[in-house]
C-alpha cells in the first residue's frame, strides 16, 4: 500500500518541478540588468577582462569595460566569474512528449516534434542548469527521411507554445546508415522494413524527392493557371508527407541528417545536388574528418560528439579529433549532446577539442555557441555576446572550458531562468513540501484503506518506486536498440 501511495505522491510531485521557476521574472516584464566585473567571453569579439553587460528588453544593449546603466537596473556582480553566450545544442531530444521515433515507415515526414513539445520535461531545467539556452529538437533516426524538427529556447516555466525560437527555420531529420536500415534492431514477427542497406537508403531518399518534385511541379502549374485567371484549374491533392519535402526544395526547411560513414555522407551530398537542395547540417558525422574537404566545399555544417565511439560498427572509426580536424579544413563544426545528460556539460565536451586536435580556446567555445547558431541560421540573434543580440547568457564560476566550471546563472531573453544559489536555497522548502504532500496522501490513503477494510477488501498493490528507465534518448543507446535519433 505504501508503495502505491509513494507512487501517487511522486506523480503529484512531478508537477512541483514547475515551482523551480517561480523565482523567474514574470514573462511579461523585461528587467534591466547589468552584469558587472565579469570576464566576458564574447566569442566573436574577443575577451573583455572585468567588463559589463547591459541588458534591456531582453536584448544585449551594451557590452564593454563599463556601461551606462540606469539607476534602477538590477545588478549582478560577477566578480571573478565568466560570462559566455548561452550554449546551443544542435541535437537534442528533450521536451518531446513520448517517443522520438515514428519508426513504422521509412519516410515519416508527416511527424513533427513541434507538435509534441512538453514544457514540463524536467530535462529542460536540467539542461538550462548546464547553460543550454537553445536546442534543436530532432525527430529520431529510424527513418531515411524522418520527422520535422523545431528549434526551441529553454524557457523553463513557460507553456509549450512559448518554447519555439521565433524566426528560426524549421527542419527535417534525415538518417543514414545502421539506424534507418535497422541493422541492430528487429521486431520479432514483423517483416524487415525497406531499406535494409545503404543502397536502399539512397533510393528511399531519391524516390521521395522524385515524388516531391513532381508534386511541386503540379502545384506550380496549378498556381500558374490560377494567377493567369484560369477559374477551372483543379488544385492537386494535398500530400502532408510531401509538403515538408517541397519546403526543403524551396529552401524553407533545413535538412539535419544523421550520418556516420564517409560513403553515406558523400551519397547524401550527391542526392541533394541532384535535386537542388542543400543539406544544412550533418549530425554525428563521426567520419566527417575523412571527407572534411568535401564537407567544406559543400558548405554543410557538421554537428558531432566529443568523444563517443565503438558503440556500433559505424562508430568504430570515430575519433575525438573529429571536431578539430573538420574545423581546420574549413567546416563549421558544433558539438552536440543527443542526450539530456550530455547537454548539461557541453562546455566541457567542447574543451576536449583543445586537447584532441589543438583548437584554440576561442575555437573550442565556438563549437557550442556561434557555430551551432550559424548551423541553425540564428546567428544574427544568438551565439555571441554582441549588442542587439538576445540576452541569452551563462555565468560560470570559472573558465567554462574546465571540468571544474559550474554554471551559476543562465539567462534567456534577459531573464534569469536558472540561479544556482536560489536553486540550492530552495531545496529545503521543496523537500518539506514533498514530505507534507506524502504525509497528506498517506493520511488520505489510510482513511480510504480503513473504509475498504470495513468491506473486507484489500487495496491493489502496484507500481513500486523501482522502475527500469529506458535508455536515455541518445543516438547510440537508441540506435542499437532500434534507431532513435
Amino acid at each position: 500500500m505504501n508503495r502505491r501511495l509513494h507512487a501517487v505522491a511522486v506523480a503529484l510531485l512531478g508537477s512541483l518541478g514547475v515551482s523551480y521557476a517561480t523565482w523567474a521574472t514574470p514573462p511579461d516584464s523585461s528587467p534591466v540588468i547589468v552584469i558587472q566585473n565579469a570576464t566576458i567571453l564574447t566569442v566573436t569579439k574577443g575577451t573583455i577582462e572585468r567588463g559589463s553587460i547591459l541588458i534591456k528588453d531582453g536584448k544585449i544593449a551594451e557590452v564593454g569595460p563599463s556601461v551606462k546603466a540606469p539607476k534602477d537596473a538590477t545588478v549582478i556582480d560577477a566578480e571573478g566569474k565568466f560570462v559566455t553566450p548561452g550554449i546551443i545544442d544542435c541535437h537534442s531530444h528533450i521536451a518531446i512528449d513520448g517517443s522520438v521515433n515514428e519508426g513504422s515507415i521509412s519516410v515519416s515526414s508527416i511527424a513533427n516534434t513541434a507538435e509534441v513539445l512538453n514544457s514540463d520535461d524536467i530535462d529542460i531545467y536540467r539542461d538550462l542548469a548546464g547553460g543550454v539556452t537553445t536546442a534543436n529538437i530532432l525527430h529520431g533516426s529510424a527513418n531515411s527521411i524522418g520527422g520535422q524538427t523545431v528549434v526551441i529556447k529553454l524557457r523553463w516555466g513557460q507553456p509549450a507554445a512559448k518554447l519555439p525560437f521565433a524566426g528560426a527555420l524549421p527542419g527535417i531529420k534525415f538518417a543514414l546508415g545502421e539506424n534507418p536500415k535497422r541493422s541492430n534492431f528487429s521486431v520479432p514477427g514483423q517483416p524487415k522494413r525497406y531499406p535494409a542497406t545503404r543502397m536502399g537508403v539512397e533510393e528511399t531518399i531519391r524516390a521521395a524527392f522524385t515524388e516531391a518534385r513532381d508534386y511541386k511541379n503540379a502545384w506550380d502549374a496549378y498556381n500558374k493557371k490560377v494567377s493567369a485567371g484560369d477559374k477551372t484549374a483543379q488544385p492537386p491533392r494535398r500530400d502532408l508527407r510531401l509538403d515538408p519535402l517541397v519546403e526543403v526544395l524551396e529552401g524553407k526547411r533545413y535538412v539535419h541528417s544523421h550520418c556516420y560513414r564517409e560513403d553515406e555522407i558523400l551519397m547524401l551530398l550527391r542526392v541533394a545536388k541532384e535535386f537542388g537542395f542543400k543539406v544544412r547540417t550533418l549530425q554525428h558525422v563521426l567520419e566527417g574528418y575523412k571527407v572534411a574537404d568535401e564537407l567544406a566545399a559543400a558548405g554543410v555544417g557538421a554537428s558531432t560528439f566529443s568523444d563517443w565511439w565503438a558503440y556500433k560498427v559505424e562508430a568504430y572509426d570515430a575519433i575525438p579529433y573529429n571536431a578539430a580536424l573538420m574545423t581546420r579544413r574549413g567546416v563549421v563544426v558544433s558539438i552536440n549532446s543527443d542526450d539530456a545528460e550530455e547537454a548539461t556539460h557541453l562546455n566541457q565536451e567542447a574543451a576536449k577539442s583543445m586537447k584532441f586536435g589543438g583548437l584554440s580556446h576561442d575555437e573550442a567555445l565556438k563549437l557550442v555557441t556561434i557555430n551551432p547558431a550559424i548551423q541553425l541560421g540564428i546567428d544574427k540573434r544568438v551565439g555571441s555576446i554582441e549588442v542587439g543580440k538576445d540576452a541569452d547568457l551563462v555565468i560560470y564560476d570559472r573558465d567554462p572550458l574546465s571540468a571544474y566550471a559550474v554554471v551559476q546563472k543562465t539567462l534567456i531573453d534577459g531573464r534569469v531562468l536558472f540561479d544556482r544559489d536560489q536553486d540550492v536555497a530552495g531545496r529545503a522548502a521543496l523537500e518539506k513540501e514533498k514530505k507534507d504532500l506524502i504525509a497528506k496522501e498517506k493520511a488520505a490513503a489510510k482513511k480510504s484503506e480503513e473504509k475498504k477494510g470495513e468491506h473486507g477488501k484489500k487495496p491493489d498493490e502496484k507500481k513500486p518506486e523501482e522502475n527500469a528507465k529506458p535508455p536515455a534518448s541518445d543516438d547510440a543507446k537508441d540506435s542499437v536498440n532500434g534507431g532513435a535519433q
Binding site: 528487429s186 566541457q348 586537447k355
Partner: protein, 441 residues
C-alpha cells in the same frame, strides 16, 4: 656528480616511437625535478622518482639517480599514480552492438565460475585508447552492463579481474585474476525496456515481486550450498566427493576471502543487499550506488565501501536536485563513507578523470577526487599493496602530466605501465594523423 646516463630530451623523444614498436627489456628510469603527488603523505615539490624492474624503486626529494638510469627531466611536470578504473568491461567488449565482439555477459543467472581475465582481449583497441587518458589499470567486471549494453545481467555474474593496460598477453597484464565476485542484486522491477522490440514493458507488481523473491531465494540457496561445499572440502571431503566448479568458485566468497561486488542503485536495494551480505557474512563492496547518500549512515556503520557510477549522470527522480549525483561524493566523504568513482564502461572509460573533477567542482576535496580514481579503488579492491600510490615497491604504473590530470585539457607527457615507458599512440591518434595528411582532393 652522478654517473647516470643523461639522455637529451630530443633523443629521448625520438626513442619513444621505437619503444612503441619494439619490445623493451626492463630499464631503470629516473624522473627528476618533478612535482610528485605520491598520494601517500605530502606532495614533493622537486623530487625524483626511480623506476626499476617494473616497480617504484625510490621516491623522494633527495633520491640518488641510479647508475645507468634513463633520466626524464620532469621540470614543470607533475607525477601521479596512474588512474585505476574500478568498474569496466575493458577487453571484454569491442563494439557493443556487435554481439560477436562482446564477451561481457554470460547467459544464465548464476555463473560464479566465469572469470573476466579469461576473455580479455589484450589487443582490444580500447586498451591503448584508455591508457592514453591516464588510466593505467582497470577492473574488468563480468555482467556489469555498460553504455548501450543489451546483455543480460546475471545475478551471480562471475569474477572480476584487475589488470594493467599494457602487455603482450593477459599473463603480462594481470594484477589479480580474481578480485571480486559480481552480484547484480535482485530488485523489484515492474518497468523494463525491451531491446528486441524497442519498447517499454510493464508488468504487475506481484509478478515483479515474485521474480525478485525467486532470484533472492536462489541466491541464498547458492550461498548456503557453497557454504556446505566449502565445509566439506575444508575437511578433505569423502573419497567420492564430487567436485562442482560453480560451488568451488563460491567457496572463497562464503569464507569471506573474496569480496562481493554488489550492483545496486536504489536505497531499498542497497539496504536489502547489506542485509543479505550481513546474514551471509560476505565482504561487500557496493557498486553503482546512485542513492547511496540515502543510506550513508548504514554504509559507514557497516564499513561498506562504494564504487560510484559516473557523477555525470542524471538524477534518478524527477524532483531530485539537478546535481544530485554530482554532489553525492562530497556528501559521502563528509559522512565518512569510503568510495571510488568508476566509469562503469568501456568506450567512455576515458571520462574517468572528468567525472572525478566534476565531483570536485561540487564540493569534494581535490585530494579525495584524485584518490577516488587512484588510491581508493586500490584499497577497496584489496590491491593497494600493488597500485594506487607512488610508494617504493609498488607497480610502476605512473603518469607524468603538464598539469592537473583530472582537467580536460591537461596532456599526458609520459606513461609508465609496469615500469615500461608506454606509448600513448592509439587507433584514434593514428586515424587523426592519417586523415590530417589527406591531400586536398
Amino acid at each position: 656528480m652522478h654517473r647516470a646516463t643523461l639522455v637529451a630530451a630530443a633523443c629521448f623523444l625520438a626513442g619513444l616511437t621505437a619503444a612503441a614498436q619494439t619490445p623493451q627489456a626492463a630499464t631503470t628510469y629516473a624522473i627528476t625535478h618533478a612535482k610528485i603527488f605520491t598520494l601517500a603523505g605530502s606532495t614533493i615539490d622537486d623530487g625524483t622518482l626511480v623506476i626499476k624492474d617494473g616497480k617504484i624503486a625510490a621516491v623522494g626529494a633527495s633520491v640518488e639517480v641510479p647508475a645507468g638510469a634513463q633520466v626524464i627531466d620532469g621540470k614543470g611536470l607533475q607525477v601521479y599514480p596512474g588512474f585505476f578504473d574500478s568498474v569496466t568491461q575493458m577487453g571484454l567488449s569491442e563494439i557493443s552492438a556487435v554481439s560477436s565482439t562482446v564477451d561481457s555477459s554470460e547467459t544464465g543467472n548464476f555463473n560464479p565460475d566465469v572469470v573476466a581475465a579469461t576473455a580479455v582481449s589484450p589487443s582490444s583497441e580500447h586498451i591503448p585508447v584508455t591508457r592514453a587518458s591516464g588510466i593505467t589499470e582497470v577492473l574488468a567486471v563480468p555482467a556489469s552492463g555498460g553504455f548501450d549494453s543489451s546483455g543480460s545481467r546475471a545475478v551471480l555474474g562471475g569474477q572480476a579481474s584487475a589488470f594493467s593496460l599494457a602487455g603482450w598477453t593477459m599473463d603480462d597484464m594481470q594484477i589479480k585474476r580474481s578480485v571480486a565476485m559480481t552480484i547484480n542484486f535482485p530488485t523489484v522491477q515492474t518497468r523494463s525496456f525491451d531491446v528486441a522490440t524497442f519498447s517499454r514493458r510493464e508488468r504487475p507488481y506481484a509478478e515483479a515481486k515474485q521474480e525478485y523473491e525467486k532470484n533472492l531465494n536462489e541466491l541464498t540457496d547458492w550461498m548456503d550450498r557453497a557454504r556446505h561445499y566449502a565445509q566439506a572440502i575444508g575437511h578433505g571431503g569423502p573419497s567420492d566427493f564430487e567436485r562442482d566448479v560453480k560451488l568451488e568458485a563460491l567457496a572463497p566468497v562464503v569464507r569471506g576471502q573474496l569480496p562481493v561486488l554488489v550492483f545496486a542503485d536504489r536505497a531499498r536495494d542497497i539496504r536489502n543487499a547489506v542485509e543479505f551480505c550481513d546474514k551471509q557474512k560476505l565482504k561487500m563492496i557496493l557498486a553503482g550506488g546512485s542513492e547511496a547518500y540515502k543510506v550513508k549512515e548504514l554504509l559507514r556503520s557497516k564499513n561498506i565501501p562504494v564504487i560510484l557510477r559516473p557523477v555525470l549522470t542524471l538524477p534518478t527522480e524527477e524532483d531530485d536536485p539537478y546535481d544530485r549525483l554530482l554532489s553525492q561524493p562530497a556528501e559521502l566523504a563528509q559522512a565518512g563513507v569510503k568510495f571510488a568513482i568508476g566509469s562503469f564502461d568501456n568506450s567512455f572509460a576515458r571520462r574517468l578523470g572528468q567525472n572525478a573533477a566534476n565531483a570536485a567542482a561540487h564540493g569534494l576535496s581535490q585530494d579525495d577526487a584524485l584518490k577516488a580514481v587512484t588510491l581508493y579503488p586500490a584499497q577497496i579492491l584489496g590491491l593497494s599493496d600493488q597500485v594506487g600510490t607512488l610508494e617504493t615497491g609498488k607497480l610502476a604504473n605512473v603518469i607524468i602530466t603538464n598539469g592537473d590530470p583530472l582537467e580536460l585539457t591537461t596532456e599526458l607527457k609520459y606513461l609508465f605501465i609496469k615500469g615500461q615507458l608506454t606509448s600513448t599512440d592509439n587507433r584514434h591518434k593514428r586515424l587523426f594523423e592519417k586523415y590530417s595528411n589527406r591531400p586536398k582532393p
